[in-house]
Symmetry: C2
Subunit: 243 residues, 2 copies
């Protein structure tokens, strides 16, 4: 049985303050836990799972790191409406800046956790391995971000960095997603570059747009004022990387 103290401590990781203090975060559900166990076994601090999961996943991680819990206990630990068999507590990843990357996605103040997680999942779909975020972005370890990545958090390296000088030193073409650029349709497929995606309502900061090699736009055929930032990222990546 879990102690009240242990339950409280895991619940507390829903808050950024406690994640920052402890250097830990939480991920839930069989799919994401499986991916994390494969890619980051050393980062797993403790795993809490119901009997059924424990039985089916023998050998996935070191048994000393597994605590079997009741459905009731799982429910108390979980941040989800419908708890899903397993919860893992991990150390935050240590991720170095990429060395001579060929393609980078740069996010400028993407604040909605769902959008942020979905963008990481999109990056993973399109084979983008590095996402650089301004400090104004949502916290990667926010439970909503973690869950929205649908396990892509285990495959895409996310760096927080406000050092835009570093970005520009990569000597890669810089593409800025704006509302008044060149249509992204028909753009030649690119092999390298940095795609800049801006905040949901304010767009990209002017000083970033000014540094772009090219501004790209998804032409509007109808009347909506804007597209969701994750949807726009998906559309632009699909036209640049895979057309």
């Amino acid at each position: 049985m879990l102690s009240k103290k242990e339950i409280k401590y895991i619940q507390s990781l829903a808050l950024k303050k406690h994640r920052d203090d402890t250097g830990l975060f939480v991920a839930e559900g069989p799919k994401i836990v499986h991916e994390l166990a494969q890619h980051f076994p050393a980062y797993i601090q403790m795993l809490y799972a119901v009997k059924e999961w424990v039985k089916e996943n023998a050998g996935l991680i070191d048994a000393s790191k597994i605590r079997e819990v009741s459905e009731d206990e799982l429910e108390r630990l979980s941040q989800l409406h419908t708890p899903n068999k397993v919860i893992v507590v991990l150390k935050k990843f240590h991720v170095d800046k990429p060395v001579r990357p060929s393609f980078l996605l740069y996010l400028d103040e993407i604040q909605d956790p769902g959008n942020f997680g979905t963008i990481i999942r999109i990056a993973d779909w399109f084979g983008v391995h590095h996402v650089i975020c301004s400090q104004g972005c949502a916290d990667l370890y926010n439970p909503k971000v973690v869950q929205s990545t649908m396990a892509s958090i285990a495959r895409v390296q996310v760096h927080y960095d406000d050092d835009e000088q570093w970005l520009l030193k990569q000597q890669l073409p810089v593409y800025a997603a704006t509302l008044n650029g060149k249509p992204v349709y028909g753009h030649a497929k690119i092999k390298e570059g940095i795609l800049l995606i801006g905040n949901e309502s304010k767009g990209l900061r002017k000083e970033l747009v000014e540094k772009a090699t090219e501004e790209l736009t998804i032409p509007r055929l109808g009347s909506a004022e804007s597209l969701n930032a994750a949807v726009a990222t998906g559309i632009i990546l699909s036209h640049l990387l895979a057309n």
Copy 2:
């Protein structure tokens, strides 16, 4: 001042049961209220707004339909974390099936309210005027759907219909979004057709895929198992309608 009864009644519209019983729903915030007042003035039953909004929007709708409320009252009426000046109660729209449409988006059991609302916004961006939904889709009038459309709910006509025979009688080419189809990149621009988008985890029902003229896929360059349904819809529409 609003009576307790009136406050309770408006709050109750957050639940489908009460929306079904009354035929009413709620939308919030200046942007969406402005669009609804322009497109559907006759559907507005009552509007509740703080003094500032009332002053700035004189003449937008019939004054007899405006109730000025305090910030406290607005907060009690609102479903949002941060209430935003104005809340409107409307009659659900009466929408006929389109007659000889040139392009339709068909949604098969899109259940997540955020995805559903985002797809309506995407349709609006790409000039798609008609969305047909299976009965298994989320409720269009769910507050999360309404807000996720970002006012596009006023411009896109959404029909619930399980009559797939009707779909096929339109004699339009049918494109099914699946994981094993022809790459959507490089597809010729289309002028007419029906795009079928399936459930977030189960995809499209087999009987629908069988009726498709063509299966289309967004090729995966990386490792994510799937793309978010709204993101996939945006990418496919961008390649079919606007490339």
